[in-house]
């Protein structure tokens, strides 16, 4: 055996390292390093060619400096030179330096690849190994490109020695991970599988890693590995502990290889072949049996190696999830570990049992260990173990033990580490909701959560309790009473104030009969918390107050006094101020009936998947969160003796749906389906409300739509009738609501530039239910299609209740046009297909570019366009009051430049612009002469194209 100093031929390096170690301060160390760097640099730059030994020594020093954490910006070239050295030791240091310091984008990579290529073809196993190690260590794309075909060849070549085969297998594995596209499958794949039969266990170990990775990516290509792996595993587990010589580790036969083989088998389902299957079951049983045998050694290495294999076997049993006896045995084995004196084993047992809990076969068996797990929660000294215990309790929870588990988690929460509190809160909230039969218990649990760990109760959790209370009549009175009592505490968490404010505002009347919770008492209680709360909570409380005015007219004056106070009406926060002003005003002017309508009780919330669950999933990642749902029912239905009768399950399931899964994705609890006064903080600020879908000002009401429909000339009332009632409004403007009915609102925003336009169409779902099969199309007449291109981007087929989606239409004007494209909207709502068609406000004047010109130019051009067909004139009665400013705005909105001081008569309006189409541009002059006495207008248009003149005249004359 070589002694320590053996092979260490570099005295200079040792001296340098001791120097560094002797440095008393960081400054001294840096000084010493800089001195050394200067020395090495001068040696590398010097005239005298360095011998290999010196090069090696300096490279090694640079490496040492780098590993101390300092930057190295030279020496790479010298290291690459070492690769071509014939001396192993120099080559080795060169490779080490490259492995540690060279990143993939280095321009030296070609030189390095050259060195590697030489060594790979050297047929010297030691050199080949160095080269393969280097490829695996750097693993860059350039290397993959250069060697991806060479490495498999080396791996399966008949004359490759074992150690090189091992390196080649793992090198290929690395390349496959970094650049899978560059490693082609080929005839070598079949031969790789047969490496599982190799004589040399080292080769088998390396090959198993490679095959596992490849099998994950293309299972079909490596199917044959299953039988080979089972055969190999079987030979290992049945061998006597000394059979495998050096591959026996502390009396355990080839533990690493066993673990890897078991891992490989987890890439596949249980084998279909019966013989193979029973052979595997035998293996797994043998492994489980061995766990019961007395240890062959007291060393921890023995038990670790043995249990590593055992845990991997259990992982495979869980993965197959098909052998009930094995699953139960696995569970019992883990149960033993739960009380083992080794912390590591307790940790792993808890972790492994978590996945076992989700199997229908072993769920009941896992539940028998509940007391032990609860005990672990209380007594474990290591937080990571306690965390595992929480996870397991969560996974094993079902209706039968929910109350106990939730109670234990709540009591643990009081002392839990801060790092895991939020997660526990989420878990408690989910379990309490999921397994609540009695909703008073649910309400109590959540209020307890807020009391114990208020800071860790996220918005999702308290929104959720409100939604549930709103949706369930039977719990509202209890909830009001409970929050009222909880609010009595001198110091209560702000989240409790929020929940309390909301619930009392809705259901305070249910407890107002009791003089101890009379309206005034309730109000004073809430208001006593007001000044201690943050702005959003205060906003919520103000809404609760206005709700109180409706619920309890007798305290209206008191509340008005509060709203009227300077601290509210003149609050520096705009949201609070606005609420105070609006609520005060509302309470003063609205009659009782109106108040009662506006402030009506909230309608039920739509049912959605719980966002608490979503949040927990985000926190934990997928693998860690076993679905606590499925399987259970199976077990119960299968009737495991003591389980509930299945019809009762059905019944409880039926009663719980509103709770099993739902929560708004929006960030505020509020139903979207009604016109009821929105009772949520910040509603005017942050969430879209349907009265102001696009932040546009025009909002035609649904009633209006109906009237127009009834009185329109067209007498057929089919659903597909083309709506054009709002069309004219868009002639002089680009944005607004074009269509609205009880279900849907369609808004537009458009912008035009020369002959191109882009229109954003917003579809707002006004209901609380999804629109399904939502689709739209834009149709044009045949003529129009040659004049106007409209390309509509696709739109999502589902619009969630209360959501709005946007669609973009790209528009190109090819030539002048008069027809109008039609937008067809189709969707399924409540089982009925709905069809809506409307004229899309794309008209010729949208492609106007305004033209400024002087009076002289204007009249000169006016005369030039004097041909009779070029002029169109229309005299019409005004439909609106004749206001000069409004008229000006309309003309500008029409798209032309409004030319001031051109017409000698100041009352007249004159405009000029150019219509841009792809084929031609059409200049346009217009003049509008109002006659106020007669309430008449005369509109004159002159353009170079008669059809354009006519169309523009038709469009514009509608506007006045």
């Amino acid at each position: 055996m070589p002694a320590v100093s053996k092979g260490d031929g570099m005295r200079g390096l040792a001296v340098f390292i001791s120097d560094i170690r002797n440095c008393k301060s960081k400054e001294a160390e840096i000084k010493r390093i800089n001195k050394e760097l200067a020395n090495i640099r001068s040696k590398f730059k010097g005239d005298k060619a360095l011998d290999g030994y010196s090069k090696k020594k300096y490279i090694c020093k640079l490496l040492f400096i780098f590993l101390l954490g300092h930057d190295i910006d030279f020496g790479h070239m010298e290291a690459v030179n070492l690769l071509s050295s014939n001396k192993y030791t120099e080559k080795q240091i060169g490779y080490l330096f490259i492995s540690v310091l060279v990143n993939s984008n280095s321009d030296l990579i070609r030189l390095i690849n050259n060195g590697i290529k030489n060594d790979l073809s050297s047929r010297n196993p030691t050199f080949m190994n160095l080269a393969l190690h280097c490829i695996a260590n750097v693993g860059s794309r350039e290397m993959a490109e250069a060697f991806a075909s060479e490495v498999p060849r080396i791996l399966v070549a008949g004359d490759t020695v074992d150690s090189v085969k091992q390196s080649a297998a793992l090198c290929l594995l690395r390349l496959n991970r970094t650049s899978p596209d560059l490693v082609p499958m080929g005839e070598w794949t079949a031969r790789v599988v047969h490496l599982l039969n190799d004589q040399h266990l080292g080769v088998v170990t390396a090959a198993t890693s490679l095959i596992t990775t490849l099998a994950l990516k293309s299972p079909d290509d490596f199917k044959t590995s299953v039988s080979l792996a089972i055969a190999r595993l079987s030979r290992i587990v049945t061998s006597a502990s000394i059979d495998l010589q050096d591959y026996t580790y502390y009396f355990v036969a080839a533990p690493w290889l066993s673990v890897k083989l078991l891992r490989l088998l987890q890439c596949y389902p249980p084998p279909e072949d019966a013989a193979l299957r029973s052979r595997l079951t035998e293996c797994l049983e043998t492994i489980l049996n061995k766990a019961q045998e007395p240890p062959k050694s007291k060393k921890v290495q023995h038990s670790n190696a043995k249990n590593a294999v055992l845990f991997e076997a259990i992982a495979l049993i869980i993965h197959h999830d098909s052998e009930p006896t094995l699953l139960v045995r696995a569970c019992n084995q883990l149960g033993q570990f739960l009380q083992h004196r080794e912390t590591n084993l307790r940790y792993l047992a808890l972790e492994s049992m978590c996945t076992l809990a989700s199997s229908e076969f072993s769920h009941e068996a896992v539940k028998t260990h509940m007391e032990t797990v609860i005990n672990a929660l209380k007594t474990e000294r290591d937080v990571s173990v306690r965390q595992r215990a929480v996870d397991l309790l969560y996974a094993m929870c079902d209706r039968s033990n929910a109350k106990q588990i939730v109670a234990e988690m709540l009591s643990y929460l009081e002392t839990a580490d801060y790092s895991i509190r939020e997660e526990i809160v989420l878990k408690v909230a989910i379990l309490a909701e999921k397994y609540a039969v009695d909703y008073t218990w649910y309400v109590d649990t959540i209020l307890n959560l807020i009391r114990i760990a208020g800071d860790y109760v996220s918005e999702e959790v308290w929104y959720r309790v409100i939604q549930i209370v709103i949706n369930r009549d039977d719990v509202q009175g209890y909830a009001a009473k409970t929050v009222f009592e909880a609010l009595q505490a001198p110091a209560c968490h702000e989240n409790l104030v929020k929940v309390g404010g909301y619930i009392l505002g809705e259901f305070g009347n249910l407890i107002a009969g009791d003089s101890r919770s009379s309206p005034l008492v309730q109000f004073n209680l809430l208001h006593s918390k007001f000044h201690l709360c943050s702005v959003p909570t205060r906003a919520l409380l103000l809404s609760a107050y206005i709700k109180f005015i409706n619920l309890f007219p007798e305290i209206k004056a008191t509340i008005q006094d509060v709203l009227r106070s300077d601290s509210q009406l003149r609050n520096a926060d705009v949201e609070l101020q606005q609420r105070a002003v609006e609520y005060l005003r509302l309470s003063c002017i609205a009659s009782t009936d109106i108040l009662a309508t506006v402030l009506e009780e909230m309608p039920p919330f739509p049912e959605r998947e719980s966002s608490i669950l979503a949040k927990l999933k985000r926190k934990k990642g997928r693998g860690n969160l076993p679905d606590i749902d499925e399987a259970r029912k199976n077990v119960n239905v299968n009737g495991n003796g003591n389980s509930e009768p299945s019809d009762k399950i059905e019944a409880t399931n039926k009663s719980s749906p509103p709770l099993v899964a739902d929560l708004l994705p929006t960030n505020r609890p509020r139903p979207v389906s009604s016109s009821t006064f929105m009772f949520s903080p910040g509603s005017t600020v942050s969430s879209p409300s349907f009265t102001d879908l696009l932040n546009l000002n025009s909002t035609p009401s649904a009633g209006n739509t109906l009237l127009v429909d009834v009185f329109s000339d067209n007498s057929t009332f089919s659903a597909t009738e083309v709506s054009e009632e709002n069309f004219a409004r868009f002639i002089c403007k680009n944005n607004g609501v074009i269509y609205e009915n009880q279900l849907l609102q369609i808004g537009l925003k458009s912008e035009y530039r020369q002959n191109l336009g882009r229109m954003y169409v917003f579809y707002g779902n006004k209901t609380s239910t999804q629109f399904l099969n939502f689709s739209t199309s834009v149709t044009s007449t045949d003529i129009l299609r040659t004049q106007l291109n409209i390309h509509a981007k696709t739109v999502d087929p589902v619009i969630e209740g209360g959501a709005q989606v946007q669609q973009i239409l790209n528009i190109e004007c090819l030539s002048g046009f008069t027809d109008t494209p039609v937008l067809n909207v189709q969707f399924r709502y409540g089982g009925m297909m709905q069809n809506i068609s409307l004229k899309l406000p794309v008209m010729l004047n949208k492609f106007f570019q305004p033209t400024e010109m002087s009076s002289q130019d204007f009249f000169q051009r006016w005369k030039q366009l004097g041909a009779p067909q070029q002029e169109v004139q229309k005299i019409f009665k005004s439909k609106h009051p004749m206001d000069a400013e409004v008229t000006k705005a309309k003309i500008i909105g029409f798209g032309v430049a409004l030319l001031e001081g051109v017409d000698p008569n100041q009352e007249n309006f004159v405009g000029a612009g150019v219509i841009h189409t792809k084929s031609i541009q059409v200049g346009c002059l217009l003049r509008l002469e109002p006659n106020v006495q007669a309430q008449m207008y005369r509109l004159t248009l002159r353009t170079s194209k008669d059809s354009v003149s006519q169309r523009l005249c038709d469009l514009l004359s509608e506007q006045f």
Partner: protein, 155 residues
Amino acid sequence: MMRFMLLFSRQGKLRLQKWYTATAERDKKKMVRELMQIVLARKPKMCSFLEWRDLKIVYKRYASLYFCCAIEEQDNELITLEVIHRFVELLDKYFGSVCELDIIFNFEKAYFILDEFLMGGEIQDTSKKSVLKAIEQSDLLQEDCKESHTKIFAL
């Protein structure tokens, strides 16, 4: 697969680092600092495994040195603990009751031994004999070189 292995002292000095996936220097430094802090703060009787980011950390203390491995979700913790132990055994056998100083002064040897044992984050050979034979062979080669080297100087 193993993502990386770190060796550091009780005092928080990094003695060896091996990364099996491409990682930017800056991130490496950050991760090392963070992990050292977590591991050094743990008490002796605590369990050897912890969840960190999306990885599992397996660590063990030998005298003044902490050996710390980061493995992936589906990897086996206990066998990783024995990977560490086998590596320690290899160092011990090679240096003859290894101590921290051996690793400081012969860091390149420590890297060579680790490379013979683990490659691309997977175990290459678990036989102590095979690994040490590979190292010995290279030492023999080194010896030859040294001789020829001295000879060159003698000339």
